[in-house]
Structures are given as structure tokens and as C-alpha cells.
């Protein structure tokens, strides 16, 4: 025990003096977390709560345009601009503003759009009434090419176009449906006197059918789906594996300068020194993870981002953190064991971290990877690490939910440790 404690104290001194290693371990992931959370916050808002300026040129001036404007204004996503400096927008002016990049998106409601929708609704209503013996509404043949046109700034990303176009489509379809329901209501009233007219309000009947998101259970309730919840754990885990680089560097340096052999000729020291190193680096790595979570909780809100939520069982993060740290530390020893020089080990370590993180879902969720890659993800410790943390902070999971992950990470870490020990024993250490 004395040797382990002495090694921890010595590793602490070395760590304190390795400014580069400290920067790599603490500052780099901190920057990654802040930058990635900020960068990826924008796409999240694209789809969820960001408010856009929407140019609207109304050539129709009918009830369809009025309903669309009303619906869009009521939505949280669009800020309707239908006139500039008191002059109503024309379709030419709208296109010009978009081409200049001054606005991102605009719609043009063509002349006669209301009449066309009313006509279409009448045709549908008549078709229904014919079958049930009700009266009919006036209508004419459907005219072609009466589209509500949507225009985008050419520089907008396809994902942005898709999300905005879906949102607009939703409002326009809803407005058209409302008009159809109104026509059906009207049809009922034209058939007889008011006493025999249908009592039901068609709108209220249709409103009973809709989509509403509800939590499955309390356990699966997601308190916050936002960029912080996804980015902070992902990049913090990625950052934890940076410890591979200073560990590999220290171990190889000690081997090269001969101090590792000195330890070897001291009775009973070698294993305890190794344990001391593992313990120390596991502690450092765990502290690093805690710091990154702290950034998510307290620093990111200062940058107008949501605060990181740690789930209903935040204490479960402790064993998970230790398991991740142990795995990362063992990986560092493995990198040092398989290579002779730092020139070989460090590039390997850096590239391996990136590859394992990509495989493990740090960059792109594993569910979006091809089938073969999803299977390969199982061999990445970062996958188990990220999934365990997601269970805790996104799915409010407890210890039983991450037990398999803990076992997988400990097995992975121990396997690497045993392989490193075996490779070291095969390498002849001598003066």
C-alpha cells in the first residue's frame, strides 16, 4: 500500500508539471464542449424553437391568405413580414430580398388561391353530400397551377429547407382542412331549417383527432432534449480518452530513461507501482469528467444554453465515471505497451481515440450508422460509456440500467491491462 500511495504522490507531481498534458486533459475537452454545444445548438433550434423571419407576398387577399397568416403568426416558429416600410410585399420584391440573402425564406400566395381552395372544398363537399342525399354547393372545374410558392435563400442548408417547408406545409394543410370543414358545415345548413341542421361543430370533431406528444412513463420522461444534453456527455467522454496520450507518453519516457528498470529491480515494486499509476490516472480522469459536467451545469447557461440535467439518479454517474476512467487509463497503458517510442504511440493513440469515438457514437448517433458499423460499435468502449451516461441523464436510468455497461467497460479495461502486462513481460527490461 505504501508503494501505491508513494506512486500516486509521484504521479501527482509529474502530472502537475506536465502543463501540456493538463491542457490536453482539461482545457481541450472544455473548449470542445462549449464550442460543440454552441454549434450544435443552432440545428436543434432550427427544428424546434428558433423563430424565423418569413416574407409573405399576398396576391390573393382572400380568406386563405388571412388564415395562413394568422396560423403562422400564432406559431412560435415564424415572424411574418408581409410589408416593408408600409408597402405590401410583391412576389418580385420577395424574390429579390431572398436572392440578396437578406431573408432566408418567403411564400407567395397566388391570386385566386382562396377561390381555388373554396372550389376544391365545394367539390369534395358535394361528392360527400351526393352519397348521403344532401344538397350541393356551387363549383367549377379545378384550375391547374394554383400553387402557394415557397422560396428560399439559395445559401440555406437542405435540412433547413426541409424543416421550414414541413412546418409551412403543416399550416397550409391545416388552413385548407379548416376551409373544407367550414364548407361541410355550410352544406348542412343549406339543407333544411336551423332545427334540422347538424348540431355538431365539424371543427371540434376534427380537433379531436390530432397529434400530441406525451411521456411514456415517468422513468422515460426526457426532461430536456437539447444540444447540451447530447454534447456535454459525448465530448466529455471523448476528452476523458485524451488521457491515453499523456499516459503513453509518460510510460514510454520512463522506459526510455531507465527509471522503469530501476523500479523493476526494487523488490515487489513493479505491480504496486503499476496499480498506483492506474489509480492516480483513474482519479484524474474522473475529476476531469466531473469538471466537464460542471461546465455543462454552470458555464453553458452563461452562454444562453440550457443547463445540463443529470437525471433522477445522478449518483450513478460516479461508478460509471470510474469505469470509463479505468478503461481510458488502461487504454493508455496498452498504447505504451504495444509501441517502443512515443513517435509511434502518440499518433496511434490520437487516431485510435477518434476512430473509437466515431464508432462509439460520439460524432454521429450509433442508430444512424450502417448495420455493420452498429455491430462494430459494441467493441468501442466509448459506445458503452456514452450509452451508460445517456441512460442516466437522458433516460433517467438507475444503476440496474447501466450494470451491463459497467461490466463491459471493466472487462474492456482489464483485458487491455492484462494484454499490456503480458506485452511488457515479453519485452526484456534491462540496463
Amino acid at each position: 500500500m505504501k508503494k501505491i500511495l508513494a506512486t500516486i504522490a509521484k504521479e501527482y507531481i509529474l502530472f502537475r508539471r506536465d502543463v501540456g498534458g493538463m491542457v490536453l486533459l482539461f482545457l481541450m475537452p472544455a473548449i470542445l464542449i462549449v464550442v460543440m454545444a454552441l454549434v450544435q445548438d443552432a440545428p436543434f433550434k432550427d427544428y424546434q424553437e428558433m423563430k424565423f423571419d418569413l416574407l409573405l407576398a399576398d396576391n390573393d387577399h382572400g380568406s386563405l391568405a388571412r388564415e395562413i397568416k394568422l396560423g403562422l403568426k400564432e406559431s412560435k416558429n415564424f415572424n411574418i413580414i408581409d410589408s416593408l416600410n408600409g408597402i405590401p410585399l410583391t412576389s418580385e420584391r420577395l424574390e429579390q430580398l431572398l436572392s440578396n440573402g437578406e431573408y432566408r425564406v418567403g411564400i407567395v400566395i397566388p391570386k385566386g388561391a382562396t377561390a381555388e381552395v373554396v372550389n376544391a372544398a365545394n367539390i369534395i363537399a358535394n361528392s360527400i353530400s351526393e352519397k348521403i342525399g344532401m344538397g350541393s354547393l356551387p363549383h367549377r372545374e379545378v384550375r391547374e397551377n394554383t400553387y402557394i410558392r415557397m422560396h428560399f435563400d439559395p445559401a440555406t442548408k437542405p435540412t433547413f429547407r426541409t424543416s421550414v417547408s414541413n412546418a409551412l406545409d403543416k399550416y397550409i394543410t391545416a388552413t385548407c382542412s379548416d376551409m373544407l370543414v367550414n364548407r361541410l358545415s355550410k352544406l348542412g345548413k343549406t339543407e333544411g331549417d336551423t332545427t334540422t341542421a347538424p348540431k355538431e361543430d365539424f371543427k371540434s370533431v376534427f380537433k379531436g383527432i390530432g397529434i400530441k406528444e406525451e411521456a411514456l412513463t415517468q422513468k422515460e420522461y426526457l426532461k430536456a432534449i437539447n444540444s447540451v444534453q447530447h454534447n456535454v456527455p459525448a465530448w466529455a467522454i471523448f476528452g476523458m480518452f485524451f488521457i491515453v496520450i499523456p499516459i503513453a507518453s509518460h510510460v514510454i519516457r520512463e522506459r526510455e530513461e531507465g527509471s522503469a528498470v530501476r523500479v523493476q529491480i526494487i523488490p515487489n515494486a513493479y505491480r504496486q507501482v503499476a496499480m498506483g499509476k492506474i489509480l492516480f490516472n483513474t482519479i484524474i480522469c474522473s475529476i476531469q469528467f466531473a469538471c466537464m459536467l460542471a461546465i455543462g451545469i454552470w458555464v453553458l447557461p452563461m452562454l444562453d444554453l440550457p443547463s445540463l440535467y443529470l437525471g433522477l439518479h445522478p449518483l450513478v454517474l460516479i461508478p460509471v465515471t470510474i469505469a470509463i476512467a479505468y478503461t481510458a487509463t488502461s487504454f493508455g497503458y496498452f498504447a505504451a505497451a504495444i509501441f517502443k517510442t512515443t513517435n509511434q504511440a502518440l499518433p496511434f493513440a490520437s487516431i485510435a481515440i477518434v476512430i473509437l469515438s466515431a464508432m462509439g457514437g460520439i460524432w454521429v448517433p450509433v442508430d444512424l450508422l450502417p448495420g455493420a458499423m452498429q455491430k462494430l460499435a459494441m467493441i468501442s468502449p466509448l459506445h458503452w460509456a456514452l450509452d451508460a451516461v445517456h441512460h442516466i441523464i437522458l433516460r433517467n436510468g438507475g444503476l440496474d440500467d447501466v450494470a451491463v455497461h459497467l461490466v463491459a467497460m471493466v472487462i474492456f479495461g482489464t483485458a487491455l491491462w492484462l494484454v499490456s502486462t503480458y506485452l511488457n513481460s515479453r519485452r526484456e527490461h534491462s540496463f
Binding site: L14, S430, F431
Partner: protein, 248 residues
């Protein structure tokens, strides 16, 4: 006088090496003596030391220190031998004092003992003023002296020094030799390798000359000089037995 080190027919060939490092080496070294193990580059001196420390397993033959087998009784032997390797086997990012403190703890020494011995050795080696500087910033001579301190903290019965004065200035060499003489006077057993024949002649009670992994000759420096024809100093004896051909 009892035997400190006994080596019998030791053989060792490393993987990929063209010739064996040790090719049937046999030698004997008495206790409380300073024995010089001399030989040209590649003679097998460092391999012999590695075998004595239990770091390298011989292909055949035996080596024992104070009647304990070097291959099987490493735990016991490592407590009673102190090795000063040719490389500076210290943690370069730590100060001399931190190295002493850490290595002392690995030898299970108590903190007051480490403090007392460390202070004494630092003073004796002229490093007291630099104790709190990182070893990596030391000059070659300072590193060599610190290397010796780290190997003597546990008061070993046998001290093995592999070219302890290689690449140091005259002042450091003089200090190291003076220090070793003091140790010899304390009754310690010292095995010492060097390329510097004058140094060996001055320090050693006995010398063993080896070449190409084999024992060549041994004796006191004065006896070797007198017994070898046309030799006035140990260097002549060395060249007489090992020849003038260059070694790589």
C-alpha cells in the same frame, strides 16, 4: 574471505544477435573487495550485470550473489544489491529530492530514514544545493552523482556500478572515486565496470578482464602488470589480452 559473486559457465544470446553476449563466462568475486569488471565494448559486462540483477535470464549457467541464486532468489537479492546503471535511471521530471523520497519509499524505508540518508548522500555528492531542482535540468556529472545516490539509499551489501564515471568532468569523477573509496573502507563489496584503466587501477583490489562474453584473466592490478610481459600499467595488460582491433 567469503565469496560475494560467483558465475559459472554463463551463456546468453539475444534474439537477432549475431554472436552471444555471454559465452561460457565464469568468474568469482570476493566480499568486501572492489572488483573491476573490464572489457571492450560488447564484451558482455552490462549483460553480466543484468543477469546478476535478475533482469536477464541466462540461456544456461548459474550466477549467485552471497550464495543466493540470481534467477530464483531475486526478491532477497534485490534488497541487498544496489545497481548504479550506465543510463541515468531517474525520473527526470522529478527533483533529486523527490526521486530520493519516491525510490526510498519503494524500498519500504521510513520517511525519517529516507530524509537522513538522502540528506547525507546529497551532501556527500555535492548536490545539496540542487536537491530541489529537476534532474532533467542537471549537468551530466550531477546526473551521475544523483544516479549513485538513488542506488545506495537502502544501504546495499553489494554495489554494482556500470561505468559510473562515463562522460563526467574531472571534478565529478574525482568526487565519485573518493566516495567509492569511502564505501570500500566501510567494508562494502563493489563490482565496478569501466573503460578507464587508470581509474580501475586506482580503485580496484581485483580486476577481471573479459572479452567476447568470455573470461580472459583476473588478479590484482599490480600482479597482472607484473605477470604480463612488456606491461607497465593496467591499460597495457588490457590491450595485451583483448588486442588492438576495434569493437563496434
Amino acid at each position: 574471505m567469503s565469496v560475494a559473486v560467483e558465475i559459472n559457465n554463463l551463456k546468453k544470446q539475444f534474439k537477432g544477435a549475431w554472436t552471444p553476449s555471454l559465452d561460457g563466462l565464469s568468474l568469482r568475486m570476493d566480499e568486501k573487495q572492489v572488483t573491476g569488471l573490464l572489457g571492450p565494448n560488447g564484451a558482455g559486462k552490462t549483460t553480466t550485470i543484468n543477469v546478476l540483477c535478475g533482469l536477464v535470464k541466462p540461456d544456461s549457467g548459474t550466477a549467485s550473489i552471497f550464495d543466493k541464486d540470481c534467477s530464483t532468489q531475486q526478491y532477497y537479492l534485490r534488497n541487498i544489491i544496489g545497481v548504479v546503471p550506465q543510463r541515468i535511471a531517474l525520473f527526470s521530471q522529478l527533483t533529486a529530492w523527490e526521486n530520493i523520497n519516491y525510490i526510498g519509499q519503494l524500498y519500504n524505508l521510513k520517511k525519517p530514514v529516507i530524509k537522513e540518508r538522502g540528506k547525507h548522500l546529497l551532501q556527500r555528492m555535492g548536490l545539496e544545493a540542487h536537491a530541489h531542482k529537476r534532474v532533467g535540468t542537471y549537468s551530466g556529472g550531477m546526473k551521475r552523482r544523483a544516479n549513485i545516490i538513488a542506488s545506495l539509499l537502502h544501504h546495499p551489501r553489494l554495489i554494482i556500478l556500470d561505468e559510473p564515471t562515463a562522460g563526467v568532468d574531472v571534478q565529478s569523477r574525482a568526487l565519485i572515486l573518493e566516495f567509492l573509496k569511502e564505501y570500500k573502507a566501510m567494508g562494502k563489496t563493489i563490482l565496478y565496470t569501466s573503460h578507464l584503466m587508470e581509474e580501475a587501477e586506482e580503485l580496484c583490489d581485483d580486476v577481471v578482464i573479459m572479452d567476447e562474453g568470455k573470461f580472459v584473466t583476473s588478479g590484482t592490478p599490480s600482479a597482472l602488470i607484473s605477470q604480463t610481459p612488456n606491461c607497465e600499467k593496467l591499460e597495457d595488460v588490457f590491450l595485451h589480452y583483448t588486442g588492438h582491433s576495434l569493437r563496434d
